[in-house]
């Protein structure tokens, strides 16, 4: 069952903050921790693990949150929602974040209910989008197959049964 949980990567140099976030997020999602930006990039670039969302602290020594974002962009990792954790939503931080695709800003001190509300909203939206894309792929694939089949039958001089075709289409729309 654990494998089916959405995976949230928590990147924060503060062990206490990671523990708090883990206790909040871990109630519903699988948590992977990174104590600094390097470890986070290792996980994102080298592991086969599929990360569904990143909670990324801005203020970290050596490789801060914006450095991680810049490298992610250079490596074309741009499809994972990112929640930027910051003690202060200063104008400077907002301006620095502007070039990147940040889904949300999370303020310190944490508000666990607010974090979960935003996380659930984001991950459920992503889930729905994935489901829609999956169904669209099935539908497109099936229609392609039907059209190919119809063309084959026509090319063989066999006229397709219109009612059968409509029944199949009805079935697909019920998916």
């Amino acid at each position: 069952m654990a494998d089916s949980l959405k995976k949230v990567l928590i990147v924060d140099d503060s062990e206490t903050d990671r523990e708090i976030l883990k206790s909040i997020v871990g109630t519903k999602y699988a948590v992977i921790e990174a104590a600094n930006g390097y470890i986070a990039l290792e996980i994102l670039l080298k592991s086969a693990m599929q990360i569904d969302l990143i909670l990324l602290d801005v203020s970290m020594p050596v490789l801060n949150g914006f450095d991680v974002l810049r490298i992610m962009r250079e490596k074309n990792i741009d499809d994972i929602p990112i929640f930027l954790i910051t003690a202060e939503a200063t104008k400077d931080n907002v301006e620095k974040a502007a070039p990147f695709r940040i889904s949300e800003f999370i303020a310190k001190p944490f508000d666990r209910r607010e974090i979960m509300r935003r996380l659930e909203a984001k991950l459920e939206t992503t889930s729905l989008r994935d489901d829609e894309e999956f169904l669209a792929d099935i539908l497109n694939g099936s229609l392609d197959g039907i059209l190919d089949n119809s063309q084959n039958r026509t090319s063989k001089g066999m006229q397709g049964d219109t009612q059968d075709f409509l029944n199949m289409l009805d079935g697909l729309l019920d998916l």
């Binding site: 206490t16 903050d17 708090i20 206790s23 909040i24 109630t27 003690a87 001190p109 944490f110 666990r112």
Partner: protein
Amino acid sequence: MDLFDELKELGVNTEEGLDQLMGNDALYKKLLGKFVNLMERMEIDPNFDNTNFADIIDKAHAVKGTSGNLFITPVYESYAEIVSLLRNNQPEEAKEVLLKIIPVQNKIIDCIKKYVPEA
């Protein structure tokens, strides 16, 4: 009196702190112990250099973040003010706030150490 009662008397919002961790008092105690370790690492000398205090901002910022998340309210409020004053280039005013909070934070640290041996 237990740890949480004593901390409450010192201004720590233990109810919010416990709520943050969904009532997990063992985890709250463990993190309070880590807070003591952090305070020892991030100790700020009130006689810091008025012309070069970038590292003081970093230390105060770290204390602010962790104390806020653990609802150690007096420490959080003072260090938030210290960070703000230093960023506004007011080191003397920041030192005044620091001198006022040091005895309070020491009481909180002593209290945690009394109940959390590993701190």
